[in-house]
């Protein structure tokens, strides 16, 4: 079965600014949508601070549990950018200036390439660079771990260079059935029955408008790698709910 062989992935978000509340992470959603389009199953994400022990421990847990790990944050020129050293430690390898990375930084900064900026050329042994078309300083890949910048625009650009390196799976198809006028509790039994009858698909319910004066309802989402099975299940669910007198609208695919 296709879904048995889909690669799995995890995201590791690194940065005190996320945990302090100063910055709202948006990278997780970007990576999630990127992986979904490639048919890769994102199974978990972790957010940790700029702490060596915590980063190394999370990296080792995730890289052994998943086919791919994507990290964001901590690869800039300042003292709190410790991700590269943590990756080297997690893999038990050395870290040194990568000639190509150094050449890229020399090209960009010229005589302004000071010691701090030069730190960005330090790459763990065996690391393969990830292109950064925004500010040049590269990310890198070590085995199944892809180390990317935290700045969303840079991270998003880096994904373009990462994509061709990934084994892809069958894409998950999703269809949404919008239920309006009643809360999700009114359709939960029928939804559960559909889930029991289609165990190879996933059925989610995402309510909207609850508690407000506006329209209430819920979006029922059917997901699976077999597009025909998804279409058949969502059609059956739509028919069943309509027969029960519930207002439903199948959303465009």
């Amino acid at each position: 079965m296709t879904q048995m062989t889909a690669p799995t992935a995890a995201v590791l978000i690194i940065g005190d600014e996320i945990l302090s509340g100063r910055t709202a992470d948006t990278n997780l959603n970007t990576v999630a949508r990127f992986l979904a389009a490639l048919g890769i199953d994102l199974r978990e994400a972790r957010t940790v601070g700029d702490r060596e022990e915590q980063i190394v421990e999370a990296l080792n847990a995730l890289r052994h549990a998943h086919d791919y790990v994507f990290t964001t944050g901590g690869i800039g020129p300042t003292h709190d950018d410790i991700t590269a050293d943590c990756v080297a430690r997690a893999f038990g390898v050395g870290i040194s200036e990568h000639p190509t990375a150094l050449a890229i930084l020399e090209q960009r900064y010229g005589h302004e390439l000071n010691a701090a900026r030069r730190r960005m050329a330090r790459i763990p042994e065996g690391g393969v660079l990830i292109a950064n078309p925004v500010t040049d300083a590269p990310g890198f890949q070590v085995e199944n771990v892809f180390v990317m910048a935290g700045v969303p625009r840079i991270m998003t650009a880096m994904l373009e260079d990462v994509a061709p390196r990934l084994r892809t799976g069958a894409v998950v198809h999703a269809r949404t059935l919008r239920v309006s006028g009643v809360g999700e509790g009114a359709v939960a039994a029928t939804l559960a029955e559909a889930a029991r009858a289609n165990r190879e698909l996933s059925f989610g319910s995402y309510p909207f408008g609850a508690g407000s004066q506006g329209e209430i309802g819920t979006n029922l989402v059917v997901r699976g790698r077999d597009a025909a099975a998804v279409e058949a299940a969502v059609a059956a669910l739509s028919e069943r709910l309509t027969a029960e007198g519930v207002a439903v609208a199948l959303q465009p695919a």
Copy 2:
């Protein structure tokens, strides 16, 4: 020292919709800002899918490692809402209808209280309810774990009922020094020196405008529980950078 006794916390975000990319989580940032205002150190966050093994494992790891755990998601009426059962399993306790929770649901739903909605009254043994002023169906607390809804408006409202139950710490003060016209690499050495001279404080650098045609620069953030130490450090840093010819502006506290 005050910072030695600050409580620590973790967030566990539960829901396939976050990992599939369908929904961008905003709850982590809400909880992070809530905890920062109470002087509680948010140390890590995890995001997992609607999978029992994964939820139980994450819950047990986090509740033993931190003073508090805050979960969001999976407490609604549908078949994929399995958080309450997972919490019971993680703590090794039973789960049954909580009389007060049931009364709340009867009050809200009347004759529309079907079996699916009634599931929301199932609370692990020893659980203390968390009020939900938006849609009534309560969250609950078991020991150091606070179980909240995934819908952001509901979760935010539940935090109001959670706040008085938490031991608070000294609030972390943060001041931002905005550097403009140069990238963070130009000030990294001075920043690192300030960090070495003030090990009880944290110094972060968050660049903006990198690679674009607009103004470039970085926000240097100094954080610590001793407000006077933060003010002194940020003033010294500002003076030092100004002497180096860097344009800086201390942002309002």
